[in-house]
Symmetry: C2
Subunit: 256 residues, 2 copies
DNA sequence: GAAATAGTGTCTTTAAGACAGTATGTG
DNA sequence: CACATACTGTCTTAAAGACACTATTTC
């Protein structure tokens, strides 16, 4: 484990953010120029998650260049100086997945020194949730089923049939699932993985797949209906070979 | 609206970390050199929170240099290329607060383009919790009481009697409190604001101050004792003018 | 009518709130 | 002994799990 010695290095001038007492004139200001510090690269990586059948899938793209050439990785990009982190994420989603207006949330920032072998890269990871129906036709196959080798909100890296992921992306994806599981308990977030209209059973399935365990159907129904997050559409699902269920829509929570 | 031009600046040589070509071929690598991208500065800022009396306090240091000279700010530092984010936080805590081994957790990363008027600075914010007893004698006065102008887990910037905080630090501190409130419900975290041994009433007070509302004493006791997170020491508090309470200690949660 | 799932009603269990009553320290 | 708080026990209430029963569609 190679750790650069903290004193021996840095021929660049000592990063003192400390306090040279000063007036706000330019001369002194120059002596305190933070742009002198060596700077890391900053990227955003997005765990774009969808639900296909009984499994969570993540958008993974094969790396076309080293390092980790050929391995699958989360879509991402370096952050430009004139765009916010959120804007960078929107750009990644648009450019690499053709997605717009999906649910996005910042996840965690990964800053281990050696996480990219080329150079120092700090990555701000995001989670995006998207309903399978919203994926473009040719996008579907780029989503890979994710194996979650742990229970509850434990956390830890996930696994993908196609092999090891690049960088620390297996860990990032694991943290994304962990966050998702945690939030399901106290936030209406499952909607994001469903089309606009859905049945209670659809929503139950989402929760069960995300949590990785069966849920009590009765109390799930009660909780959801009591939450005020659902509004009935008055219509029912069609073309099922059994009694059709009421269709619901996500209701923006109104003031209590 | 002065934004450092993304191209005009930083002709300083791109600090490409050593780590030469390795297993992959160098040709491709040259055509894909991320060190070419202009890079933002990256900092860590730490919301060091303690409990004094009936109020949460945060460590705030007056800025001695522009921008926001004279205003209070969270302690922070730029991240060095050879240290992880966590290591940078430990360094800040040691250098600016004389603290070691306190509870620390990453909070959120703030990356608005204009959050620092000088240049593009992305900051990774952390929360640190420390018991008042662990503060050095001369540190106490640097902690300022924090006003939380919202209820529940709503969030939003906080207020400090000493005036406006520098940068977006009021918002960062607000998010820190918000996180704290949220975690209190499902995690043993209040301990971090108390000395090693404490009574149930001490812990109740912590929860009440953090949450900003009174709690039911009976069910609090039951929940805490049932959680398995507390272990009785067998001794009692001393020098109180009423019946002394049992002292408890935080018990590392054992495997169920 | 058979099969399958939607939806309702009710009983049990569990955790939280309320509160009375007892215990044990200080002054 | 008065006072203050710690601690215990019990009743009530609310939410979750379990499960029986009815409803409504397709085949």
């Amino acid at each position: 484990m190679r750790v650069a010695s903290k004193s021996g290095r840095g021929p660049t001038k000592p990063p003192r953010r400390s306090e040279p007492p000063q007036h706000e004139d330019a001369a002194l200001r120059a002596s305190y120029d933070p742009s002198q510090y060596p700077r890391p690269s900053v990227a955003v990586d997005v765990a774009v998650i969808t639900l296909k059948g009984e499994r969570l899938h993540a958008l993974l793209v094969p790396r076309s260049a080293p390092p980790f050439r050929g391995r699958l990785a989360l879509p991402g990009s370096f952050v430009r100086l004139d765009e916010s982190l959120d804007a960078a994420v929107q750009r990644v989603l648009a450019e690499k997945a053709g997605l717009r207006g999906v649910f996005v949330e910042q996840l965690y920032t990964f800053g281990a020194v050696e996480r990219d072998p080329r150079m120092r890269v700090i990555t701000v990871a995001y989670v995006a949730l998207v309903a399978e129906e919203r994926l473009a036709e040719d996008e579907g196959h780029r989503f890979h089923p994710v194996e979650i080798p742990w229970e509850g909100e434990t956390g830890g890296p996930v696994e993908v049939a196609a092999g090891e992921l690049a960088f620390d992306h297996a860990g990032i994806l694991g943290k994304a699932i962990q966050r998702l599981r945690g939030k399901l308990g106290y936030t209406p977030i499952g909607f994001q993985l469903l089309p606009d209209e859905f049945t209670l059973r659809d929503l139950l399935r989402v929760h069960e797949v995300v949590l990785g365990r069966p849920l009590n159907k009765d109390s799930f129904r009660r909780r959801m209906l009591a939450s005020g997050d659902l509004s009935a559409t008055g219509t029912q699902e069609a073309s099922v070979d059994h009694r059709p269920a009421e269709l619901y829509r996500f209701a923006r929570r109104s003031a209590v």
